[in-house]
Symmetry: C2
Subunit: 386 residues, 2 copies
């Protein structure tokens, strides 16, 4: 498995920036203010695990034309100088009196003039990563140049992946496939779920993951109660369904899919539920063609897993995928986003096995001109056995 090239050619960042600038003109925005890890990385290529520290805010400004301006803590200057960004303004953060706000206001004034509107991400799946008191200070200092919605510009651009981005997600998925394939040789009845989690993360790293930001799962008799819990020290028992759901990362891109394993031979009910999940995944993949909508995917899966037509309470059946574990859009009945080539999605049907017990399956696809291409290795109807 030869990995793709790391990073992106400078052209790709330039293209992304210019695409944002074209949309800014359309929405009458004199600047875009970026504050979160994926926003900064999308336009600059600034890749670091240092965001784990909540101490310091980081800002990048997209001007109406020309190149980006980074207003960042001095601790990041060296790494940022290795990206295509050349206008890098720094302060010695943390500064208890003014943690970058003065510097940021100056830069925004320079870019947006006296009256220009400044766009900031404000829609679902976003937040503003800076202290709320500083956000208010910023708004006060900007006077008439209000902070307004960024019109979801970055979210819209990130929705369609380039071939280089797709290559990275495919590689991440191949690494996870390698790890999932080795689970039966490393895991056995009697092992605690916390040991299984640890071992699985090691398998992901051995297979080539840069890191494993996400792992959830469960092991319970004939299905599980939820899919977001951390591991307990309870031992695996015959009749358990072990589910492992990973978001591992390669060069800043995620895969996100799960695999179910029956500990010992599966019961008929569990095997039947698993077959249903694969059938639902295939039904969605079948309709996943440009021109169809996200809600079409929902109904294709729901018709298989809920033949009555009912919609489950926690009803998302998949989502976007890329620089983040979960991205826009959500596969729900209310999402009418039209599918386009280059969208990367997870298909994640869920089925109720018995009251309070579910089984969830997940695969990753990219939308192509002709339909869905699987990035993960589509599972067969038969549940895997440990």
């Amino acid at each position: 498995m030869t990995p793709p090239h790391r990073g992106f050619p400078e052209d790709e960042f330039r293209r992304r920036t210019q695409a944002a600038q074209a949309l800014m003109a359309k929405h009458n925005l004199a600047a875009l203010l970026l504050t979160t890890e994926p926003e900064l990385r999308y336009y600059t290529g600034f890749l670091t695990r240092f965001w784990e520290s909540p101490t310091r805010p980081w800002f990048v400004i997209i001007p109406p034309t020309g190149d980006l301006i980074a207003v960042i803590p001095s601790i990041g200057a060296h790494l940022m100088s290795q990206t295509w960004v050349t206008d890098i303004r720094t302060w010695a953060a943390p500064d208890y009196d003014d943690d970058g706000i003065g510097l940021l206001v100056d830069a925004l004034n320079e870019v947006a003039g006296d009256e220009g509107q400044i766009g900031i991400a404000d829609q679902l799946e976003s937040y503003v990563r800076m202290p709320f008191a500083d956000l208010r200070r910023l708004e006060a200092a900007l006077l008439t140049r209000a902070l307004v919605s960024d019109a979801a510009i970055t979210r819209r651009l990130r929705l369609i992946k380039s071939e280089s981005e797709i290559d990275k997600i495919r590689h991440a998925a191949a690494i996870a496939t390698g790890a999932f394939n080795r689970v039966p040789e490393c895991v056995a009845s009697g092992m605690s779920l916390s040991q299984v989690f640890r071992r699985f993360q090691m398998l992901c790293l051995e297979e080539g993951a840069d890191w494993v930001p996400y792992l959830a799962g469960a092991a319970e008799q004939a299905g599980y109660a939820d899919v977001i819990s951390p591991a307990t020290d309870a031992p695996l028992e015959d009749g358990d369904v072990l589910m492992l759901d990973t978001g591992l990362m390669w060069d800043g891109y995620f895969c996100d899919f799960d695999r179910n394993y029956s500990v010992g031979p599966p019961s008929a009910v569990v095997q039947c539920a698993h077959s249903q999940l694969i059938a639902a995944t295939l039904a969605a993949a079948d309709v996943a063609k440009p021109g169809k909508t996200i809600s079409d995917l929902f109904y294709a899966m729901n018709a298989v897993v809920n033949p009555s037509g009912d919609v489950m309470e926690a009803g998302r059946l998949g989502h976007g995928l890329g620089m983040q574990l979960t991205e826009w859009p959500s596969i729900i009945p209310q999402d009418h986003t039209v599918l386009e080539p280059g969208m990367v999605l997870t298909l994640e049907p869920s089925v109720t096995v018995s009251p309070g017990k579910i089984l969830v399956h997940e695969e990753n696809i990219v939308i192509r001109d002709h339909g869905a291409e699987f990035l993960s290795d589509l599972q067969s109807a038969d549940i895997r056995v440990i």
Copy 2:
């Protein structure tokens, strides 16, 4: 190495909540609104890696008296019901029309009445984790009951760790120590830094880490240019200083320290820099007694690493540690926080070896009545050799 118990007795969450309520009364707050992972977990015990997904907002309200109210996506109801929280209100998120704001406003009105002020974290190291448009919607719906500063209540409480919290951090540190000790047997000249990163994360897991949210490092000749970069595929060479800095987690608590290794015998300059760093750490540990201040720690270290008295640009020489990789306060000259028993800190002196090249060392301590207790295994003056 026997791990401490997982989780906390319900009493500890109750104590934290009541301490917050006492401070709320003092600051005339009728409710505290919590939106981020560490805030929610501190009061509820809600522990999941699912926060990696940015899709859904999560809210917890602390009323002036009585128990917490969780207003959360239904996908988290099962896990939240296993904590001590009993008032759990859910919605089927994501909801494109109203992603929990209606439910949240109702709960806040119920708790804060017509006029009560609602506190929200707004100081350094915090942010509000919800879409900015929803935050504005919330503020509009609250009418006269303004969102005001939480007076850093949660930050102040989290500053002093309980013995159970300290036990978890000590255990995380012991796991990292085990991994660092095995580096020389797994790493050799010629190996790529990205391979070293992978192998080191596996060692952390083997030694018992639940997961490894943070790893940074570098390997360059006689020092490195920065400490936040991801790994490259460049091979280790004789004369490199390999630095690995990990924040691994055990039961929701971090350690955060680094180790430096000379690849081959160290030069006199590198050995001298390392000795200076250990001397600086010891100097800070010596003054780390209740009644002294954070700035005292800064000056104790700075006097050793910058005998001229100059202060480096990216000048933080350590920070708080606990549920997050970095916590309040920052060891800078401007921080006059008085040291108290139960504070957990990193001591992180940095020394300039040559223009653009630094060496950084880090240890973890807890403040006791008598002074500093090391939670990490204090290194000797001699740099380790690979």
